[in-house]
Amino acid sequence: MKEIVVISGKGGTGKTSITASFAYLDGREIVVADCDVDAADLHLLMRPDFAISENFYSGVIANIDQNACTKCDKCAEVCRFDAIPVINKQYIVQPLDCEGCGYCARVCPVDAITMEEQNVGDWYISTTKVGSAMVHAKLGIGAENSGKLVAKVKNEAKKIAEEQGKKYVLVDGSPGIGCPVVSSLSGANFVVLVTEPTVSGIHDLKRVYELVRKFGIKTGCIINKADLNNAVEKEILKFLSENDINYIASLPYDETFTKAMTKGKTIMEYGGGSIPRIIEESWDKIKELA
């Protein structure tokens, strides 16, 4: 079983539309994992049935028993996150500021502070409209630990792939280079970088590749909206060849992706000139490389 992760550094380059197209093509061979738990959109194209739903608990948050509190100020003193202001003469924990370190609870002389488990989101096991299994999640508003929820989604997807004897886990990752991305990269066999020929696209591609390189994972790159700027596209191609990144394909700038999305369809179903063929060839190439 191979794990293929699609990321981009920059948001909005077309990760999810392309991932959904691969998933549509090869539904029977893969398990899909939407690891962009912050702003998960893959379900809008894959129409999963949300068959199994579970709460995800991770991390803790301080809660002060106001009746027991002697207002000694120790908790506020040790809190490095300024999460315990005094409001109306009471020490009140601000949930969005509390990191869950528990230092306050350890120094409270009267044990008035308890650390309570946080429900940071929900995760689901579904069957998609093409019959493949899909694991996805919804992070609670302002929740931390998105990296841990990413790991949970990925591990569940892997488990299902093993049980069902599927060949691939296809992961839709999140933008950026921080904890959710690091979490989606760990254990991956192949990374697909989806970029665009814009100054931001190449800038972010270089940064995210530097991260991928630390993991030593084999990498390929798809240039989306490739005809938007020929000079930058050339620069990207040069970067790929200098860095041992497999060039997979270039897709044209085409609003058909958006039109298909508006109908809740992948471009494979909706049709769009040469694009479905290029995507099919790309997916074959990725499977070969992975």
Binding site: K10, A39, L44, L96, V107, G142, P175, C179, P180, T258
Partner: protein
């Protein structure tokens, strides 16, 4: 006045709006633009100025000093993040897991875990006439964006009076980095696009801003593509649509080359002027 420019979905035009708005405002007044998308900062690709200040940014992490350590195991016990672990007669620290809470260090009976600074990124400040541009870049491999965002905001707070308009280009998503970037903003502009992805992530962003009790409005980018569900949603939810930016390949092409749009595209400048009017009419003055 602090205005955060955010969005649930990535790639909707946060940076385009932040940089153009800042540059246009700077034609007549002082403005500070700060790029808080420290994982992938892009504003600097569109704003060129003279570098006037540069500093490394650090987070504090414990370092084990074996000399006096009694191997009592307390540090491991108090660390909720598994960043300090005792393996036989060694204490191991995993800085990438550390949240800099100081518990292990300050609760160590033998003071064997002093906190030391570890570099997490760099802050740079540029100046171009009326415009101050500040950006921070997270070092590759550092997982936590929040401490760098917090320190960058502090730096900005330290240098300016309240009257100046301060724009904050925020990271995408709805989790901790966005919260950190927008939690002390006076107003949040949510940039979206009129597509199912745009709408879905806009709803998440709206929930987040309501949770934070923020005043916010929406700018619809790529207007004309997709459908009108975003517009309908905003009407039903009573969310002000501050401006729309037309969908145009020419805008995408100019953006791709790192070019500021408003001097080239009159309709876009018109949208920016609407946004500036809105800011002046709705969020300055008495309410602050």
């Amino acid at each position: 006045m602090k205005i955060a420019i955010a969005s649930g979905k990535g790639g909707t035009g946060k940076t385009t709006l932040s940089t153009n708005l800042a540059a246009l405002l700077a034609e007549t007044e002082k403005v500070i633009l700060t790029d808080l998308d420290v994982e992938e900062p892009n504003s600097g690709l569109f704003i060129k100025g003279n570098l006037i200040h540069q500093e490394e940014k650090f987070k504090m992490v414990p370092r084990w000093n074996s000399e006096k350590c009694a191997l009592c195991g307390n540090c491991q016990k108090v660390c909720n993040f598994h960043a300090v672990i005792q393996i036989v007669d060694q204490i191991m620290v995993f800085p990438e897991l550390c949240h800099s809470c100081y518990a292990c260090s300050e609760l160590c009976p033998t003071n064997s875990l002093p906190m030391i600074p570890q570099k997490m990124g760099e802050l740079r400040e540029y100046k171009l006439d009326n415009l101050i541009f500040i950006e921070s870049r997270l070092d590759i491999g550092q997982e936590q964006a929040v401490p760098l965002i917090a320190q960058t905001k502090k730096y900005v707070d330290g240098k300016s009076s309240d009257e100046i308009i301060k724009l904050y280009d925020s990271p995408p998503g709805t989790s901790c980095p966005v919260i950190e970037a927008s939690k002390d903003a006076d107003f949040v502009i949510l940039v979206t696009e009129p597509t199912p992805f745009g709408l879905h992530d806009l709803k998440l962003a709206v929930e987040t801003m309501r949770e934070l009790d923020k005043k916010f409005g929406v700018v619809v980018n790529r207007y004309g593509i997709g459908n009108d569900d975003v517009i309908k949603y905003c009407r039903v939810e009573n969310i002000p649509i501050i401006a729309t930016i037309p969908n145009s390949r020419r805008i995408a092409e100019l953006y791709s080359g790192g070019i500021l749009l408003y001097p080239e595209v009159p309709e876009f400048k018109e949208s920016l002027l609407q946004i500036i009017d809105f800011i002046r009419g709705n969020i300055s003055g008495d309410e602050l």
